[in-house]
Symmetry: C2
Subunit: 347 residues, 2 copies
DNA sequence: TACGCCTGATTAAACGATTAATCAAACGCA
DNA sequence: TGCGTTTGATTAATCGTTTAATCAGGCGTA
């Protein structure tokens, strides 16, 4: 059972060169006092032997695993690829690994997932919380990526400002009546986006909000949103709070023979993978995931290295909101002349 | 710097109960010879102290980290959430953690990502290879999830059979001329799907294939696919090789005023997150990711436990192809009467 | 010459778990 | 009573790395 490790270890290098393990360790880490030439010789020899340090040995000695946990409780969240990719990149750049834990949407499973990570000895973790979940303190530093209005949030896209970008864009195009389409008013992210849009409206503009989950609760999952009638009522722009919903809006409008963007504009959020390939390509607002991940990870590492790792602390970052970027594509265009809308409205 | 671990360790439990560490270890693992009552007492005491074993210590001694690696080289693959979720679930059920490594699409970065995982001491890894990549042998067991026609593949959805499901469905609906729409003919997965569709055609049916990347190479990224003309030419069904492409097809058809499914049917593959919410909801073929992950992980664990972990072996599974499942939604419907198609074709 | 100091290396003690080897006591049986 | 066996526990070695403590020279200076 006792399979020997394939690769060489410090002691093998040491005996092979006739020096002590400590010297090899010092030479490789550059920490102790080793002569220039010996350092060179050791490094060279280690390289040609293909030495890779044992994380287990190191972890045991230093009490640090070199691994961060990533908790993504929202089942099959389409943002997952981007988040995971960005976090993994930021972590890998800092020499850390990323252990994932998905709780499959189950609420209680979030704590369970967190515990699994703790048991595996992660040095810290990044949590993208399920809507309005309170993070039960884990025994390691925790960075939360949600939105600025979430208490304890570490860093996130500036969803509010993103909403304002949408509002300004629609104002530029001359839209007056806007229908905001979201999934669930419990979500801090969606609420901030709504707030941003509303706060960015120019005089003469108005907005209403349609919550899909509420509608589906009555009419059943996947029900039509009745957007054609909204167009008749005078709404010329549909601002979805996520590209997923924007896609639903876009296809429903098209299905009902409404031309986008000639008769109605559609915008989304997040710039998900498909947003560029649909016809018309979706105007959307994108978050700078790389920047967010970078900030979250470095805040985490900072907390880890300053040694306040004992308590389950929610770490904070100086720059806690990262600006979003408007991406204008073909799904948004000038509003139809005002008279026509009013006429429709009156009919 | 020497922060003591917060939780208790074996020795603390041992001294606290006045027994030896070995006894505690044996009692908790149920391996050595410990009396019933002492086992009970130790377990109880360990539980109330909130003991969690140190993975580092265990890993160092046993030479096993209890962690599997997951390599997903295809940048921002929309299947990622499902795969990661399924693998993580299967691994967690077996008491393993999952370390992710994304190579951001870079070709050489795949080996680099694999090396990172090896350095972290994973016991094995699951690789979803970038198209037609050969896996450079890593120093641990490797399970490959691609498609049955890939040499060395461990387990995958039966893409060929999935194609046949699509063909049979379209045949049932009376479609005669089918346009298969894929991204890239280099992909083993896509090729198997095409093969399946073609092999499942009934007499009197024909199919052509359109590769998007080839088209975009000439006409630019995001160019129209010219599907309206294909409808005029008599194609009544568009079988995309992935939902992502199906979405592109669907929206382009709708944009051009072609009613789906009345005038043309659209089908996809993979049942991605948005497939159910677009209008009309997408008929697609779904892979049983949970089953695939379960098979991949258990093959991996099997190889790990039988001790042939020395070599970088591609593990094999008995059941290497998992059937796909047809999900019929609203984007596919009966073909228009044959005469009309012929008429169009002749014009 | 002798003392102190710097340099460059070694020694040895951890970290926390697993496990083979050992040992003491109790028990069965002749 | 004496011997072998079983039971229940302990001892001690080990995994690979880090790091504080120690040590042997060499060199400058008093």
């Amino acid at each position: 059972m006792a399979q020997l490790r394939p690769g060489p270890n410090l002691s093998r290098i040491a005996t092979s060169l006739g020096v002590s393990v400590a010297t090899v360790s010092n030479a490789l880490s550059g920490k102790g006092r080793v002569s220039e030439q010996l350092v060179g010789k050791i490094r060279e020899h280690a390289a040609e032997l293909g030495y890779v340090p044992s994380q287990a040995g190191r972890a045991l000695r230093t009490g640090r695993s070199g691994v961060l946990g990533l908790v993504l409780p929202d089942i099959a969240n389409p943002l997952f690829p981007k988040i995971a990719q960005a976090i993994e990149f930021a972590a890998a750049s800092a020499g850390y690994g990323v252990l994932i834990a998905d709780s499959r949407g189950d609420v209680s499973a979030q704590t369970e997932a967190i515990n699994r990570l703790v048991e595996r000895g992660v040095d810290g973790m990044v949590i993208v919380p399920r809507r309005a979940t309170r993070i039960s303190a884990a025994s390691c530093p925790v960075a939360v990526i949600d939105t600025a209005s979430t208490p304890g949030n570490t860093v996130a896209a500036d969803h509010w400002q993103g909403g304002q970008l949408i509002a300004a864009h629609l104002a530029d195009l001359g839209h007056k009546r806007i229908l905001i389409i979201g999934n669930n008013p419990e979500s801090n992210v969606q609420n901030d986006r709504v707030g941003g849009i509303r706060s960015g409206l120019c005089p003469g503009m108005s907005a209403e909000t349609l919550w899909i989950e509420k509608l589906e609760h009555q009419a059943g999952s996947g029900c039509p949103l009745g957007l054609a009638r909204k167009v008749e009522e005078g709404f010329s722009a549909f601002a979805a709070l996520s590209d997923l919903q924007a896609l639903r809006v876009l296809t429903e409008l098209q299905r009902d023979g409404i031309d986008v963007p000639a008769e109605a504009s559609v915008t989304g959020f997040d710039d998900l993978i498909w947003s560029a390939v649909v016809t018309p390509a979706l105007t959307t607002v994108k978050m700078d995931m790389d920047a967010i991940a970078e900030i979250a990870v470095s805040a985490l590492l900072n907390s880890i290295n300053t040694g306040r790792t004992r308590e389950g602390t929610l770490v904070t970052a100086e720059n806690d909101r990262v600006p979003m970027q408007l991406i204008i594509r073909q799904s948004s265009g000038p509003a139809k002349p005002v008279q026509e809308n009013l006429q429709m409205e009156n009919s």
